[in-house]
């Protein structure tokens, strides 16, 4: 008899533990427990604790947690890469750091998660990552409610390219009729490839892999005649190949690939905060504010710089951030130009010219709305 009662007690205990465990990981925003607005579509009045994230904005969640969870790539040197010691670096990674500096005041308060091509949107949607900086192309479908991303300003204007062996005699895509092509799954490149070959009435066989390393390895071993991804990715991947000098990147640009960060669509406050940190990095380059001269710039009389650095105008407060949020980001990470040079510039193995990624004032496409 006692055994039975013990069993009941244990079952109840287990259930209680399971529930508290489920509820625990959702850090309740400091002051706002479950207001009704998120329950609009829900018949049930009693909201379980877990969706508390929707109640407040991620901005509060991130602050309460004290660190930013950022979805990145870990296989593309120059953009998102992880070294033998587990340190992340790259162009995309620096944007994670800038956001952490802007929101939390500490560029190192970032937890990186590898986001595979296939999983990245699910990670953002399910709240596993706060923000995604993973050479992700901004497209209509991904922006729509269907996939449910909210895209940030474009950080890198790219285009899809094709890598082939020099010995193959291929000079352009038109020579590739009947070719086998290695491509990564869950990417826009997989779709563009089909589009481009369809349009030219060429036949091809795609061999689709789960991540960049496997795709590249298969091409390198001769499984495919061509390897396709964004041109920046091709340049970066070349540094990992057995003998880069045997390969070349075709002139053809197969598509437009505006690469941008992304956040969860249902959280406008968080989207605004991240968007303006990214904008601020570009604006800083335009205004000539760098991590080196920022102390002098704090004393600048230029009203644009004053607003950018939070000396006047309370711009940060409007976004739910500290007013000096851009000072933190710029001191600890640097402006857009510094991020670019550090990861992709002339001193790196990639040496990618700025091209269309220059400021609008220098003939490029980078143009931010005004800081006011």
């Amino acid at each position: 008899m006692n055994k039975r009662l013990t069993m009941v007690a244990i079952s109840l205990l287990i259930i209680a533990v399971v529930y508290s465990a489920c509820a625990a990981p959702a850090p309740a925003p400091a002051a706002a427990p479950a207001p009704a607005e998120s329950a609009a579509t829900e018949p049930a009045a009693e909201q379980p604790a877990a969706p508390a994230e929707q109640a407040g904005s991620l901005i509060d969640t991130v602050k309460a947690r004290g660190k930013l969870i950022c979805g990145v790539n870990n296989q593309i040197p120059g953009f998102g890469n992880v070294d033998a010691n587990g340190n992340y670096s790259g162009f995309d990674v620096d944007f994670c750091r800038a956001v952490a500096a802007g929101v939390l005041g500490d560029a190192s308060a970032v937890e990186y998660r590898y986001a595979s091509g296939n999983d990245r949107f699910t990670l953002v949607k399910s709240g596993e990552v706060d923000v995604l900086f993973r050479n992700t192309t901004w497209t209509l479908t991904r922006d729509s409610a269907e996939v449910g991303m909210e895209f940030m300003p474009v950080t890198f204007y790219d285009g899809q390219g094709m890598m082939v062996r020099k010995s193959s005699g291929i000079a352009s895509i038109a020579d590739m009729d009947g070719a086998t092509i290695c491509v990564q799954s869950g990417t826009t490149t997989e779709l563009n490839l089909a589009d481009v070959f369809r349009a030219q009435e060429l036949e091809f066989t795609p061999v689709v892999f789960e991540d960049n390393d496997k795709t590249l390895a298969a091409y390198d071993e001769g499984r495919c005649d061509g390897f396709t991804t964004d041109k920046s990715g091709l340049v970066s991947s070349m540094t990992k190949m057995a003998d880069p000098s045997e390969h070349m990147i075709l002139e053809d640009t197969m598509s437009k690939e505006p690469l941008a960060g992304a956040v969860f669509q249902g959280d406008p406050a968080w989207a605004d905060a991240v968007r303006w940190i990214v904008n601020g990095l570009i604006e800083a380059e335009e205004s000539g504010v760098t991590s080196q001269n920022i102390n002098e710039m704090l004393a600048s009389e230029n009203p644009t710089i004053k607003r950018l650095l939070g000396v006047e105008g309370e711009m940060g407060a409007k976004l739910g951030l500290a007013n000096d949020f851009m000072v933190q980001a710029l001191t600890q990470v640097g402006n857009y130009g510094e991020i670019y040079d550090r990861n992709l510039g002339p001193d790196t193995p990639f040496n990618l010219p700025r091209g269309v990624n220059a400021l609008w004032s220098q003939g490029g496409l980078l143009y931010t709305p005004p800081f006011r």
Binding site: I15, E146, V147, S185, L191, V208, A218, G222, G266
Partner: protein, 477 residues
């Protein structure tokens, strides 16, 4: 009088074991339902927040939208077809590798299992090494070993290893010569079917006759002979009457590619809904000066395609093919065309699955054979039966009772393990579903679809194996 002094024999309800049993189950059920509700609610809330237009309702419309991506193997698939059809291609690919794998694993497992109880020392040790090696290493490691370590090490396509007249071996796959039914061979299908029916009928009759006269055997040989005669006679008849439709015409594009088809409505243009394409018909292409620029044959889907022609073709002729041709792989452009090809992804996955599962099946077979009493062997030997006959007629039929239930689990495992295909880029249903989910954002629907498909496979396999198990079970009276 004593009765009156006893306490109430009925204990209070909370000490009644029956009540408690019901209560415990109710609490458990409540817990399960609550957990389920919590998860469901969590999902819908989140979806509603993400998708403001539909309020998070799960829509299945994506299945009919254009997929836009290519699939490397399986049933022919064009990027302009729908997601639903892409998924179907994935399902077929899973079945291809799953069924072939189950078949090969059974054969390998049976042989290795018997070898493990063999009297031959070397055979026994070899089988032991095989089982220990492949049962004790992870499947994913073996899969990558086959793919990266074995197949990728094969020669490049430029210097493909030639397998005599059989075909070519490269790190892009195996290209094999393969007999294929041509357009005129379609009429042979009926004869083949007739041959199959004749084979089964004759085998059954022969078996019954043999059983009546007390002889052993299955009548298989008689069946095969009967089927062969019907099919062979059919071939002669079909070959003698082989003609192509009078309205055969062609479409030629870009001077090197096109389609050969039966123009059913006589308007001269190919309309896939009305016209019928002609498979494996020999063709000759002529250039502007009436010189021959290429010779070849159409493919299964009626198309033909040449690369690097000396001149553009302006017209072509065709001839009537025999019902059956041997299609040989020929180097054309970047790859081989013709014959059948096995991709490295398919071969690696198949190898990994059947070699791995075969090791487990070997142990199951060994256990089954060991479970048959020693007396059965001795009795059989006392009757003068050979070891082979003993194994075939006495031991294995009894061992099957022990073998079938765990064997079912291995079959289920093999089919489910095929989802590791994603590691080597084989487009199975899981791999394809991941791409679909990524492009449409239909995570929940995608997972539901995948789970339902694997569940269906597993249930069907179980049903079949249970039926078979009942058939071989010991008949008890």
């Amino acid at each position: 009088m004593a009765r009156a002094t006893f306490p109430d024999p009925k204990p209070p309800f909370y000490r009644d074991t029956r009540t408690i049993a019901v209560l415990v189950q109710l609490v458990f059920l409540g817990g399960v339902l609550l957990t389920g509700w919590f998860l469901y609610n969590n999902m819908t809330t989140r979806l509603a927040a993400a998708n403001t237009t539909t309020g998070g309702a799960l829509s299945w419309n994506f299945l009919s939208q254009t997929a836009g991506f290519g699939i490397s193997e399986g049933p022919a698939f064009q990027p302009e077809e729908s997601y639903g059809r892409a998924y179907w291609v994935g399902v077929v690919n899973t079945l291809r590798v799953g069924l072939t794998g189950v078949l090969l694993a059974t054969v390998v497992g049976l042989l290795a299992g018997i070898a493990r109880v063999s009297n031959n020392w070397l055979l026994r040790q070899l089988a032991g090494v095989y089982v220990d090696l492949f049962r004790s290493t992870p499947l994913l490691v073996q899969l990558l070993f086959w793919y990266v370590g074995v197949i990728a090490a094969l020669p490049n396509i430029q210097d493909a290893a030639e397998l005599g007249n059989l075909g070519y071996l490269t790190n892009r796959g195996m290209y094999l010569s393969w007999p294929q039914l041509t357009e005129t061979g379609l009429n042979w299908n009926g004869w083949l079917l007739g041959g199959g029916i004749a084979a089964v009928a004759v085998a059954w009759l022969q078996r019954r006759r043999m059983r009546r006269s007390g002889r052993l055997g299955s009548g298989l040989l008689a069946g095969i002979v009967a089927g062969g005669i019907v099919a062979g006679a059919g071939y002669v008849v079909v070959a003698a009457n082989a003609t192509l439709p009078a309205t055969t015409t062609y479409e030629l594009r870009r001077g090197d590619r096109g389609t050969l088809f039966e123009d059913r409505n006589g308007n001269g243009t190919l309309e896939p809904a009305i016209d019928r394409t002609l498979a494996h018909v020999p063709i000759t292409l002529y250039g502007a000066q009436d010189e021959v620029v290429a010779q070849g044959a159409t493919e299964q889907d009626g198309t033909f395609r040449f690369t690097d022609l000396p001149a553009e073709a302006v017209r072509l002729t065709w001839s009537t093919p025999p019902p059956l041709v041997l299609s040989e792989p020929q180097r054309q452009g970047f790859n081989f065309r013709g014959g059948v090809s096995l991709t490295p992804e398919f071969v690696a996955l198949l190898l990994a699955l059947f070699v791995y599962t075969g090791a487990f099946i070997a142990e199951i077979v060994r256990a089954g054979i060991s479970a048959v009493g020693k007396g059965q062997w001795e009795a059989s030997r006392a009757l003068g039966l050979s070891t082979g006959t003993t194994l075939q007629m006495i031991v294995l039929p009894q061992a099957l009772r022990v073998i079938i239930p765990p064997l079912t689990s291995q079959y289920l495992n093999l089919v489910k393990n095929s989802s590791l295909a994603i590691a080597v880029g084989y487009p199975d249903l899981f791999n394809v579903s991941r791409t679909i989910v990524n492009q449409t954002g239909a995570e929940v629907q995608g997972i539901v679809l995948v789970m339902a498909t694997y569940l269906t496979f597993s249930l069907v396999t179980s049903l079949f194996m249970n039926w078979y198990n009942q058939r071989v079970a010991l008949v008890e009276r």
